[in-house]
Amino acid sequence: MSAQGPSDPDVAVETGSQVPPAEPVRRAEPEPEPESRWHRALREVATGNAIISVLAVVLALIVGAIMIAFTDERVQAASGYFFARPGDTFVAIWESVSGAYSAFFQGSIYNFRRPDFAAGIRPLTETLTFATPLIAAGLGVALAFRVGMFNIGGRGQMLMASAAAGWVAFSFDLPFGVHMFVALLAGLLAGALWAGIAGLLKARTGAHEVIVTIMLNYVALYLVTWMLRTPGLLQAPGSNNPKTPPMKDTAIFPAILGDGYNLHFGFLLAIASVVLVWWILDRSSLGFQFRAVGENPNAARVAGINVKAMYVYAMLISGALIGLAGVSQVLGTVTTGFSSGIDAGIGFDAITVALLGRSTPWGVLAAGILFGAFKAGGFAMQAAEGVPIDIVLVVQSLIVLFIAAPPLVRAIFRLPAPGSASRRPRPNVTKEVEPK
């Protein structure tokens, strides 16, 4: 009965194609790392079905609507006399939910209350501005996922990139364009190196990248905090606050739609990164090796692919992409000087974005824009309707929850499970036989 378990029909089907090797004598495998169950689950989550992603968002929005209704004071008041006039409650629910989501729409995509198109479309540009670092960092996390690694060091990598790019941007005097380019490069390099530490440690010593990147988050946070408090490093001269001076104009990302909008050059860089990552993963030799290592490191090694080098390269590229998120924050969004909160949780949101985008570049682009909309629209929802901003966070978290549970989403929407037959139960009849 070899490798089969009672509750594991898939395995039983698989044994058809291979007899598991029998090993009477102990044989130590020279494998690099056997993939852990946790890793495999993670990878399945990361590369799940596209429809699941969409439906997870829908579900999360529905649950979000329920919460908006529950937290709305008018609904609470109306439900107090529900049995006298139930209609009031439903009207209140409708008003609160539709009001909140329409405020959300107007805050994130198009504001109908503005007279002209130029002002009306402003929320969409805000969405894209918020989306910029999410796309860049999401790409970084997604790329690492595809190589079988979980980079949760986005925060540290963003902080290091911000610090490096910011330092170049406020302390050097260089011509316009060149300054920006040098600052950008410094940021990308810092992010790449910070992630590269984790890659190198994994390749050289087998240290698990999850642990290392988490710990490097703290190292980066306190290192940057210290630098922000130390005059002559990052702290603004003549100030006691842990904050940098403003970036010099020559280094700031130009606004791409004119001064009326916050959308900056960083967005174009993020889009370019999407194309770049797509090329790397789907069209380049390097990406082929990345994916081979991510799917089956043993086979990759046997095929002569340098698995350890791939881990390092992947972390370097992943770190540079997350670094771009940090650079776009300091050179594009918050140009008046930054403190240690500059990462704004983007390093962690990026994991959600990568999951929602199924670790594909185009998926990450879409997911990043959606999350940008959550940020832009969430504020509008709070301002216009008094809906707590926390609900947006809950919706975001629910998306992750639903994506992590594809069977749940399938069950709710009655989708067929992949590879399953008709659901008609087979009769399990046992006929009575007379003993002789």
Binding site: M1, S2, A3, Q4, G5, P6, P9, D10, A12, V13, T15, G16, S17, Q18, V19, P20, P21, A22, E23, P24, V25, R26, R27, A28, P30, R283, S284, S285, L286, F288, Q289, R291, A292, E295, N296, N298, A299, A300, R301, V302, A303, G304, I305, N306, G419, S420, A421, R426, P427, N428, V429, T430, K431, E432, V433, P435, K436
Partner: protein, 506 residues
Amino acid sequence: MKLELRGITKTFGTLVANDHIDLTVEAGEIHCLLGENGAGKSTLMNVLYGLYQADGGEILLDDRVQSFAGPGDAMRAGIGMVHQHFMLIPVFTVAENVMLGHEETRFGGRLDLPAARAKVREISDRFGFDVDPDALVDDLPVGVQQRVEIIKALSRDARVLVFDEPTAVLTPQETDELMAIMRQLKESGTSIVFITHKLREVREVADRITVIRLGKVVGEASPTASNAELASLMVGRAVELTVQKDAPQLGDPALVVQGLTVVDPIGQLVVNDVSFEVRRGEILAVAGVQGNGQTELTEALVGLQPRVRGSMRLDGNELNGDSVRSILDAGVGFVPEDRKEDGLVAEFSIAENLMLDRAEGAPFVKGGNLQLATLAEFAEEKVAEYDVRTPSIETKVGRLSGGNQQKVVLARELSRELRLLVAAQPTRGVDVGSIEFIHKRIVETRDSGVPVVVVSTELDEVTALADRIMVMYRGKVVGIVPGDTPRETLGLMMAGEAPNPEGAAA
């Protein structure tokens, strides 16, 4: 006890693993269940053992309908199973293993070990097993461990014993002893279901043979049927069992291995001072029971083992110390033993797998860009040439059958300019039809002047392919003998006995 299965049906999703299977095993009969890998034998036995619930059909013991919710019920009803992979705890003694799961206790919850010991002795004496109840299982040879499994089943009064591929891990001598044991059990009235795909064993021991193909019973045969008849029943068409090959056109020695030693991570010498040479146009088959250093030897040849001493020279160039990449580039083709783990990326398409070990440089990569058109063309060509049964070259390799997967590996390795082919277990888990094809390809490779090293634990394969046979035992070479060495000699060598002088002289 008479066992009867009626109309057993078991499906997994859309796959029908067992389709209305009827099987009757009379008391005191050895009934062989013959079929290729994936034919549904193991599923059927798991249904019988209560591990799976059948979707339809019934199980009868002595004409009484049974319903098994789990293996416990099956055991109580008198069904015992000897698994291919032993379900023994290595650090326990034989007696402890035998009582495991049915621990009898004395006053105060103390284990009644003496009773278990007595039981082991009693069964052991009855069948002449010669098993010491106090020996640690870890210290016992594989063949004896298997007897412990049998004792375990018998100690629970099993009257139907299922042997699931019991000979996969045994030397030929141990296999013969097992056959003798099975005959003894039969005399004492035990019914035996013997699952295997090895034709020789079937004919030796079976009273009746039921052949299963694609989840269905395709026929019954008597043990007097010829190998060819049985094979064609299994496969569904006529199969050529012997490999047609001419005498080798021997060239110069191409691969020269001297004093090769491989140390595993815990410091054991898994390959111990091995020296041999392979000439151009020659197949050297490495025989031996699984786990005697053959795997590590092949891995060392392609640079996958980290601690290797000695020298391996291919056409005069030292390979030891080179990276896998440069060894592959030097023209070494490698068919790994475990194709799912080491040979293929299951989630990749056939085309992608075909370029797996040429992921850098020509012809599939130009300037860092994948040449997808070239790859598609190449893949179409190879799929046709190697008769890979697939809907398209974009199909994920994990969805192919074992035989087709192995053809993809072979197509990839043989489509490079080879100076040496190393094939480990090239036909393990492969259907009979594909075995034929793969063997032909290996012989063709030899005939084109490439030296070939084939590792196999199947004597049939070794004798079919080999020009010379090297037998390994505990990491050492027992001897290198001509390809036509009789099986008995090879069997003794696989158990570690040095060959007789005339064999050694060759």
